[in-house]
Symmetry: C2
Subunit: 331 residues, 2 copies
């Protein structure tokens, strides 16, 4: 397991050239004869030489690796982004250091420190936080933010959340709903704010006044949503004819609670989710929801980060990707 690694020096000796020449050949820097090139490549193959990335990084001050911070890789939405990032950056010969912050700000900080120490060339930051506190730490490295929008972010990729909220709400309005519950993530994240803005816009367009009692803010989990809606039904009955949520799991919980309570979906109440996780396609009834372009986001982020790394700046600081409405049986 532990034969000593062969280095560029060994290769140089075997090929009867200098290390400089080997280096030139490896990096295709030119300045060597066809004959030397072949000889060097041959010996490299023969002895199965792999350059030492750490030495290269130390010398060139570029690590060819990218840090990625995700709140929770288990969340399909984030997993998809990471998946696409991986494919994108492999193509450009970068490795990904993926850090799952587990929705914990302290872990997020630890991870950042770690990445900095590892000399990452850039960071894709999908933060759980709405504001980055210790942003000072990462000011020396190019960063592209996805989804969440910290105040002090420079380059930012996110979905058109307002359009998402608008489309979902409008779908319900068009189908006759007039009392639409907005079940939203209680966190005051920019994404959620914008989805609510879309909700309001749609209401206004249909001349439906905003009713404060129709907005409930909860922690975005199935169990939370279930509990809250059950209590609501018991207390006030079904005083709404539609529900718009800021994530699919909430919507799913609503469907289940309502169905169990004897309401029919979509006849009595129509429900729309957000994110189009695969669950929403396969539950019963399948959920109407908003699709975010995860692949597009990942690719934009990748391109922007590469640009930032290579040129120190990026033309388009803020990219907003369109969303689309997926109409299924719940509306």
């Amino acid at each position: 397991m532990a034969e000593k690694k062969i280095s560029i020096i060994d290769v140089a000796q075997k090929a009867g050239v200098s290390t400089a020449t080997v280096s030139r050949v490896i990096n295709k820097n030119g300045g060597y004869s066809k004959k030397t090139e072949e000889k060097v490549m041959q010996t490299i193959r023969e002895c199965g030489f792999t350059p030492n990335g750490n030495a290269i990084s130390l010398r060139t001050n570029r690590s060819h690796s990218i840090g990625v911070i995700v709140p929770d890789i288990t969340n399909e939405f984030f997993a998809k982004i990471v998946h696409e990032l991986d494919i994108f950056f492999l193509k450009h010969r970068y490795s990904l250091l993926i850090c799952d912050s587990n929705e914990d700000y302290q872990l997020e900080d630890m991870h950042i420190r770690n990445l900095l120490q590892k000399n990452v060339d850039g960071i894709v930051y999908i933060s759980g936080q709405d504001e980055i506190k210790n942003i000072g730490n990462i000011q020396s490295v190019p960063v592209v933010y996805i989804d969440r929008c910290p105040q002090n972010a420079d380059v930012l990729i996110h979905s058109d959340n307002k359009a998402g909220g608008y489309l979902a709400t409008k779908e319900l309005l068009k189908k006759g709903c007039r009392k639409i519950l907005l079940m939203r993530d209680l966190r005051y994240a920019s994404t959620i704010r914008n989805r609510k803005a879309g909700y309001l816009e749609a209401l206004e367009e249909f001349g439906v006044p905003y009713d404060e009692s129709l907005e409930i803010s909860i922690f975005p989990e199935y169990d939370q949503a279930k509990e809250v809606l059950e209590r609501l039904l018991k207390l006030s009955g079904c005083y709404f004819d539609g529900i718009v949520t800021t994530c699919d799991m909430m919507a799913l919980a609503c469907v289940h609670v309502l169905t169990k309570a004897g309401y029919r979906i979509p006849e009595d109440v129509k429900v729309a989710g957000f994110d189009n996780i695969s669950l929403s396609e396969f539950c019963n009834p399948p959920l109407t929801t908003i699709t975010q372009d995860t692949k597009g986001m990942a690719q934009c982020a990748g391109k922007a980060l590469l640009e930032l790394i290579r040129h120190g700046e990026v033309k388009q600081k803020r990219t907003v990707l369109p969303v689309s409405l997926e109409v299924r049986k719940s509306t």
Copy 2:
């Protein structure tokens, strides 16, 4: 964005000591006075010094990073493992280089090469392949395999797949099924082989002879399963009273096809899946399925790899984790 990085030399100068002393303090190697320690720590804090990981790695020949190869991070089962690995290794101050092979063997190879060049201290290998072809490449690095079992693997963590197949099948048998369709992944992976073995064992225990026409092998995707079962129903009718599958998505497809064709689940046909993805809990009816202990697998893998890294060998080369049956409404 690009102020020059400060190094251990700068710290040493400012603190009025040698770099060796700074190094000692940083690494808590002892051999310095309380007073020096404080002085050094103070200056480190003052100038916000972060050690250069590449230099450390080059010098010590340990990178403090672990490579993780996953077939598809988008798959909840793998995502969970990665999530737990991340938490585990962060605790031990290792970073994770996560490589999504996208179920592509060539990418897998590229990733391996990449990891080797990055000098990872170890690799957690969740392979898409049943055999590693280019295993020669990674013989110089400690590797722990999860799930799939390549012939030449040394250290291996996996679920008790046979028990899984057994439990699922037995559940159907106990509830009266006698003609149980085995819908399996067509790939001849060890995991699948073992699940089938469990299926056979349960049949035998109940004195039900194995019927070849009740086994169908397909590519493990929703659409595939759907198509195949639809054709089967049209051709031969519903000649079975239960279905055991090797993954939840197949089971889900079966439920949908059967329901649409007018069969009732579980009255007419009982269906069991495998993996307990969250979908299976929230679809309709919720699926009976087999839960794998992803957290346990990740932790075992982490511990084994650490052991391998630290001592060059591991006591328990093969760890089999128990699975459990989750009975829901589909059986």
